[in-house]
């Protein structure tokens, strides 16, 4: 056996799992050498600009292209009529609906795509777009989803008015999309009828937008001679997009290459296929030259991939000690004018049924009604799995409402209801099997770290002081996430199961190339996947190259969203590496002339048990595997591919605590402290995890404190630029304190769960709970987000506490 320092040195050389290896991807970005979609410039490339509707609901009477076509540099103007001959004026959505690629006779939301002007550069294209004359006849718009299903409501979607269903079961109104239920209503109703105490609250998750710093866009390049279509795009799901493009265009999937280069943030915004992509592709097919389409920021916020817009009602029934007996949650979901909400086929409301949270609730029922309005389509998951933020927000808010009603401390009521460590795996009333958890330990660690009792004493003193200029609020969130979609029996999109993949090629000198079906957008995949392989194969991470995003190179996978990369592709990576290691072991046994059972693994080599001087390093085996000196009948090489179908989702969890001080006179909320403990199971790269948590908390802060996409009663956007839409700067963003516990995932090859979305999902209710807790002694049970100074001031004003 080697001495300890020698072993440590060998281990350190690998830079494998558990080390904070600095990121491989940084080298190009710090030099300004990233390769984002708008950096691509192909010979003869045209630029496309979209003409968009000024109205939320209107008939198109005519479109006159004459002036635009006469403008310098303009090559063509495409409208729905031009796409009809190739049957591409409509496209299927990822939600089971269809969506107009370019408006077909009517527009259903403001800024809807009406025409695309193709020109020699972006200035000429913008000039041309301004010259396209569209004659509209304005129609009454529906903006409030609560009015969508009124008997006399205008019909938004005449194209499907007669359809009995649009992908997800029977419809009861032309503006109705689906109704989805889960759980046992009768048993929940019975529990409510006999409960000692019940609470009910209307809770809104307002319409927001993920707003990555890079907007959406693509460069489509069709080669008429070969019939090959290449699409460079900023996408989170290149393989799924290629499949959709094949279905749409009739071009064989083998002749379509989607290339996701560097992605300037996604956060859910870059999963769907948007009309702009399709028009750019058609334009390239028609013109025979490459066509670039890049959104402006205003187009991005107005039209592509909004999130949330869930109008919820939460109800809990409990005994007098606060033990929850039943839950009933409903939501009215505003999906906009087309149901392009990204959802698994069998899960139209996504994973909303995770809404029992971290609590052992015996009886539960939930229902989601989705409707059309004259607003942009979408309903993507903004830094969360599908509808998980909405679900977790409801339960984490409602448990506070229950605590207030019963006069029980908000930490104590959580403790009383937590699923206990010994109950895992625990199957919820909705049928999810929570894989592992240690909720009490996580909460206790946080409470101790911040001196929770001391904070409550300080709060009590402040409340007793009528001259205090500030209100103090303490917010808790003890959330359970559901990530890593997912088991193909439950999860598919367009029929494609949500497995994922990794292919590993080991070369003679030990250099490794790994290719995966996921797509990094800043999460550091090139680093963390390399670390998994380094530990599994005993080869240094520095020599492991990770490639994603080019569908010609990488094996099929559903991409990166819903924190699925580590749970699914991370597992595929470990599995592929283990196939290689198994083969390497056979070669080692052959070389050392022993049985495989006589070998043991040590960091980077196979050793003969009891005779440690007899060993073969992985590096040696890499070379030998490419020679004739391998076991009889074995093929050369050390390559493997794994397609991993996860047996279950993973359920990361955390305990967060936030302290706020609110100025009674201005409504300004100052975040004094935010303490976030996350448990994502095995930790691959602590530095990267911490970075993901900082970012997720900041996006949670943005949503809770300022983000909202408002409309007037005619469906006009009232805030679609960064002047209006809140992205926190370094000044507003709080300082984050992070902590962790480690409860490995029992069904994942390396015990890891997803992590990057937990801080968003857990952070939002934590901020809300803190702000509302500041008003709890004044009888306030709930305040809807966002908690901007003006809205909080309105609460102070309503209570009359803003007078000196």
């Amino acid at each position: 056996m080697g001495d300890l320092s020698e072993l440590q040195e060998r281990e350190q050389k690998l830079q494998g799992m558990g080390t904070s290896l600095l990121r491989k991807e940084d080298a190009k970005f710090i030099r300004g050498q990233g390769n984002y979609v708008d950096d691509i410039k192909l010979p003869g490339m045209l630029f496309g600009a979209l003409v968009r509707s000024p109205y939320a609901h209107a008939r198109i009477k005519s479109i006159d292209k004459t002036k635009a076509l006469a403008a310098p540099g303009v090559v063509a103007v495409l409208t729905a009529d031009d796409l009809k001959p190739v049957n591409l004026h409509w496209m299927p959505t990822l939600g089971g609906d269809v969506q107009a690629v370019l408006a077909d006779k009517k527009v259903c939301f403001q800024m809807q795509e009406v025409a695309m002007v193709l020109a020699s550069d972006r200035y000429a294209a913008a000039d041309g777009a301004a010259l396209v004359e569209v004659d509209y006849e304005e129609l009454p718009a529906i903006v409030d989803p609560k009015k969508s299903m009124a008997a006399d409501a205008p019909i938004i979607r005449e194209d499907i008015a007669d359809k009995k269903e649009v992908g997800h079961g029977p419809r009861t109104h032309p503006n109705h999309i689906f109704t989805w239920e889960a759980g046992d209503k009768a048993s929940a109703d019975a529990a409510f009828a006999s409960a000692a105490v019940t609470v009910r609250e209307e809770i809104l998750n307002p319409r927001v937008h993920p707003c990555p710093l890079e907007t959406c866009g693509c460069v489509a390049s069709f080669n008429k001679a070969t019939g090959y279509l290449t699409v460079y795009m900023t996408t989170q799901a290149p393989h799924l997009v290629r499949t959709v493009l094949a279905m749409l265009s009739g071009v064989a999937e083998s002749k379509i290459r989607v290339v996701g280069g560097d992605i300037g943030g996604g956060f859910g915004n870059k999963v769907p296929v948007y009309p702009g992509y399709v028009v750019a592709i058609v334009a390239s097919i028609v013109t025979g030259v490459p066509v670039k389409w890049i959104e402006s920021r205003i187009e991005n916020i107005s039209t592509t991939g909004f999130a949330r817009d869930y109008h919820g009602v939460g109800e809990l029934a409990a005994d007098k000690d606060g033990r929850i007996k039943a839950l009933r949650f409903t939501a009215l979901a505003d999906h906009g004018a087309f149901n392009s909400h990204v959802s698994a086929t069998k899960l139209p409301a996504g994973l909303f049924s995770i809404c029992t949270g971290s609590y052992a609730i015996p009886s539960a029922y939930c229902r989601v009604d989705a409707v059309y309005t004259n607003k942009a389509p979408g309903g993507v998951a903004y830094r969360c799995s599908l509808r998980v933020t909405e679900a977790v927000y409801l339960i984490e808010r409602m448990i506070d409402v229950l605590a207030l009603k019963l006069g029980i401390d908000k930490a104590e009521i959580r403790r009383r209801n937590f699923v206990k460590a010994e109950q895992f795996p625990y199957t919820t009333a909705f049928g999810w099997t929570l894989d592992s958890g240690a909720y009490h330990a996580a909460l206790d660690k946080v409470l101790k770290a911040v001196d929770y009792e001391g904070l409550r004493r300080e709060q009590a003193a402040k409340r007793a002081d009528p001259n205090s200029p500030t209100l103090m609020g303490i917010g808790l969130a003890t959330f359970t996430e559901i990530v890593g979609a997912g088991p193909t029996k439950v999860c598919d999109i367009l029929g494609i199961g949500l497995f994922d993949s990794c292919e590993i090629r080991v070369h003679p000198t030990g250099g490794v190339i790994a290719r995966l079906g996921t797509m990094t957008q800043g999460q550091g995949h090139a680093t963390t996947y390399a670390q998994i392989i380094a530990t599994e194969l005993g080869l240094p991470a520095s020599d492991i190259v990770v490639e994603e995003g080019d569908t010609d190179k990488a094996p099929y996978g559903a991409g990166t969203w819903g924190s699925r990369s580590t749970p699914v592709s991370g597992a595929a990576t470990a599995q592929a590496a283990r196939k290689i290691k198994d083969k390497a072991k056979k070669i080692a046994a052959h070389l050392l002339e022993v049985a495989e059972g006589d070998l043991e693994w040590e960091i980077d080599r196979f050793k003969v048990k009891g005779n440690p001087s007899q060993a073969k390093t992985m590096k040696e085996i890499c070379m030998v595997s490419h020679t004739s000196n391998i076991p009889a009948g074995m093929e050369q090489g050390l390559n493997a591919v794994s397609y991993y179908d996860p047996p279950n989702m993973t359920f990361p969890f955390g305990a967060y605590l936030c302290v706020v001080d609110i100025d009674k006179y201005t409504g300004e909320v100052m975040v004094r402290r935010f303490y976030a403990l996350d448990d994502c199971g095995t930790r691959i790269n602590p530095m990267v995890i911490e970075g993901q948590i900082h970012g997720g908390l900041t996006e949670a802060f943005a949503v809770a404190m300022g983000q909202q996409i408002p409309f007037d009663e005619n469906g006009n956007h009232l805030g679609n630029s960064l002047m209006d839409y809140f992205l926190p700067t370094a000044m507003e963003t709080p300082h984050w304190e992070t902590d962790h516990t480690v409860t490995p995932c029992p069904h994942h090859p390396i015990g890891a769960k997803g992590v990057a979305e937990s801080p968003h999902v857990g952070g939002i209710p934590c901020f809300s709970n803190a702000v509302i807790d500041a008003f709890a002694h004044l009888g306030v049970r709930h305040m809807d987000m966002p908690h901007s100074a003006y809205r909080v001031w309105q609460q102070c004003n309503a209570l009359g506490i803003n007078k000196r």
């Binding site: 300004g32 984002y36 310098p72 710093l213 943030g265 970075g691």
Partner: protein
């Protein structure tokens, strides 16, 4: 076609000459005519700072500057930070402190931080936060960016002392 003008300026130490329409924005000239794609476009309304470059010793959002205004200017972009194959202390610090994720804001953030440290070589955390408030980042939550700027400031100060 509108009339075009010849504009000359120094870009990362090299003289360049370019023909532009009067309405052309500097960010488009840099990215599309001069092959400097380091500065990015995030909003085109001067809120996000992804397009930040340094013009005559000032941090400038190149999406709201006309190229014709830059005749005779001295300009620095992220591509000019590395000197003689040696990374600038800020570039090294952003890497070491995990001050970037998707990398989209990074060129603007680095260019802004470069000027900030010229304006104030020893900033406090609050001064750094204020100093980079014109540059938005959606990934990092700024905490590690602040650490990186602090770390670079220390290294630059130490280098200054060593050469003094």
């Amino acid at each position: 076609m509108a009339s075009t003008h010849k504009v000359s300026f120094k870009l990362n130490g090299k003289g360049v000459e370019v023909m532009v329409e009067p309405r052309e924005l500097l960010i488009h000239t840099l990215r599309e005519k001069l092959a400097h794609t380091g500065p990015h476009i995030g909003c085109e309304t001067s809120h996000c700072g992804a397009c930040t470059v340094d013009v005559d010793g000032l941090s400038v959002k190149s999406c709201t500057v006309l190229t014709v205004q830059c005749d005779g200017a001295e300009m620095l972009t992220v591509e000019g930070l590395e000197q003689g194959g040696v990374l600038h202390a800020l570039q090294q610090a952003f890497h070491e402190e995990h001050g970037l994720q998707c990398g989209y804001c990074t060129p603007g953030m680095l260019t802004r931080a470069y000027r900030l440290l010229k304006e104030n070589p020893n900033p406090t955390e609050q001064e750094i936060r204020y100093g980079i408030a014109g540059n938005l980042c959606r990934c990092t939550g700024y905490q590690n960016i602040v650490k990186a700027v602090q770390s670079a400031a220390k290294k630059l100060a130490a280098a200054q002392t060593a050469t003094a």
